[in-house]
Amino acid sequence: MTSSQSPRRLVIRNLGVETTRHGVAVTLVDDVSLDVRAGETLALVGASGCGKSLTCAASLDAAPPGVRRTTGSIAIDGVEQAPADIRGRLVATILQNPRSAFNPVRTMRQHAMEGPAARGAPAASREQRVRAAMADAGLEDVDRILDLHPFEMSGGMLQRMMIALALASGAPFLFADEPTTDLDLIVQRDILNLLLRLTRRQGLGVLLVTHDMGVVAALADRVAVMDAGRIIETAPVMDIFNRPTHPVTRNLLDAHLSLYPGRSAA
């Protein structure tokens, strides 16, 4: 890392993202600003397709082909950084679909060595760190798993592996893009507990993208609500659940609480 002291604050400022459809520029993310602090989890919630995942990717200049970041900057402890310099170094990312986020023809060991190699980490300590992180992520039998291909593993195992790879990077900030979407409920619970435990212990600053208010209630300290590419409300998690101000937030909560009969949004 650049300084001996771990960075405390990551700020995404005025992020704008657009793409071109049939020759017309379409704005996908409009003037989004977010503030992630070390030791704290900021949840970014909203309906599917409102630009949550894109915000994560574009702030690191890793938006999918054909999508451009038009405005915005990312700063760590007040110092503006080039996105390419902090990807994987200061900000680790967990993607939403563990099944497709691994190269199908490569083993876990090859995946595990790729990040450290890209970061230029000393070769001697690479495997050591990955093994420690895998143990932290609840993967037992590390030797066997390192030789597996993605299709030989369950979704839960792959998600744990992805978390392990993120941890092994030693980055102080973590972007978790719907980390539990494709998993069954029991595995979801395990993964959420794991994330909670690890982020607390290591004091990571987490940007958690999700549309599941249950996940928000379990993990988040603060919540930013997004709709149609804009942030419409940012508040501590208790306020979002008790006193939602924006109609879209209320809708999200109603939809969530309707799953539990006998309760309704305030």
Partner: protein
């Protein structure tokens, strides 16, 4: 694009086949049918002869001795001698070195250009892709031999220029193939994951996209080697490539033209050598394709 996707990696990931690394080189030999095995043996023998030809030819391939010109085959000159009394077998062996050597150089040039140009087009996409592929289309439009003749006409006669001409006329096929595969993979999550883990575009390309193109590049290259060999010999036959005293199959065929009615064997031997090499390499390419294409393999069930 979606259907391509499924073909490329869906099969690898989904249908319970063991991963590609699980097959060693030995199993290619075990599973191949006899034509493929024979082709592999012939290709290896050719390569060996080409490499060793400076030391193992029975006679000096360029030693002229008019006293023994146009000898039939005997114990000393196994395939006889040509119109200048040079040993045909020795010339065939020396010719293998020229043919295979120039094909190898041309192929290396073509693969390098194809991977770099096609990879750039596919990876960057957008206008760069459009511009590169339109240029490639121009090259794809011309018959390669006409284009090669034009190139040699512009660059001048000689083996180096023939190799350059062949590379310039063939890169587009490879570039198009690499581009197609890269395009089908570049939106995959694992490419995004690689970028997010801090890999530079070049690192991502080399680690995740290039290996995916290798199987198909290898097959196309093996199938094309025979074709390129014919190009080199063809241009030499026309007197545009390797020039007269050098032992080369095309040159030998050209030299034998005057004697085609009286000494037809003079033309037969280099022709046979060309036929066998091209045949062997094509068969080998076919077998490799059967072997490396997962969807074909699933159909055959072997």
């Amino acid at each position: 694009m979606t259907s391509l996707d499924g073909e490329l990696t869906g099969d690898l990931a989904g249908d319970g086949l063991p991963p590609p690394h699980a097959h060693g080189r030995a199993s290619f030999w075990r599973e191949a049918r006899w034509p493929a095995r024979m082709a592999a043996v012939v290709a290896c023998a050719l390569a060996l002869i080409a490499i060793l030809s400076p030391w193992v030819t029975p006679h000096d391939p360029n030693a002229v001795d008019l006293a023994i010109r146009l000898q039939p085959a005997d114990a000393v000159y196994w395939l006889g001698t040509d119109h200048l009394g040079r040993d045909i077998l020795s010339r065939l062996m020396a010719g293998a070195a020229v043919s295979l050597g120039s094909v190898a150089v041309a192929m290396a040039l073509i693969l390098t250009a194809g991977i770099i140009i096609g990879g750039t087009a596919g990876f960057l996409g957008g206008r760069v892709d459009q511009a590169i592929m339109r240029v490639a289309d121009v090259f794809l439009t011309f018959p390669t031999i006409v284009m090669a003749l034009f190139m040699v006409g512009a660059l001048g006669v000689g083996l180096t220029n023939v190799i350059i001409a062949i590379a310039v006329t063939h890169w587009a096929w490879y570039a198009r193939m690499v581009r197609g595969i890269v395009l089908s993979l570049r939106r995959r999550d694992f490419i995004a994951a690689s970028r997010l883990a801090g890999a530079s575009p070049a690192q991502t390309f080399v680690r995740h996209l290039l290996p995916a193109t290798m199987a198909q590049l290898l097959v196309l290259a093996t199938l094309d080697i025979g074709h390129i060999m014919l190009h080199v010999s063809g241009l030499s036959f026309l007197g545009l490539g390797v020039t007269a005293p050098t032992a080369e199959w095309g040159v030998m065929i050209a030299d034998a033209r005057e004697y085609v009615w009286t000494e037809p064997l003079l033309m037969f031997w280099p022709g046979l050598a060309l036929f066998i090499s091209v045949m062997a390499l094509n068969t080998l390419g076919d077998a490799l394709r059967d072997r490396l294409d997962p969807s074909l393999r699933a159909e055959h069930g072997h």
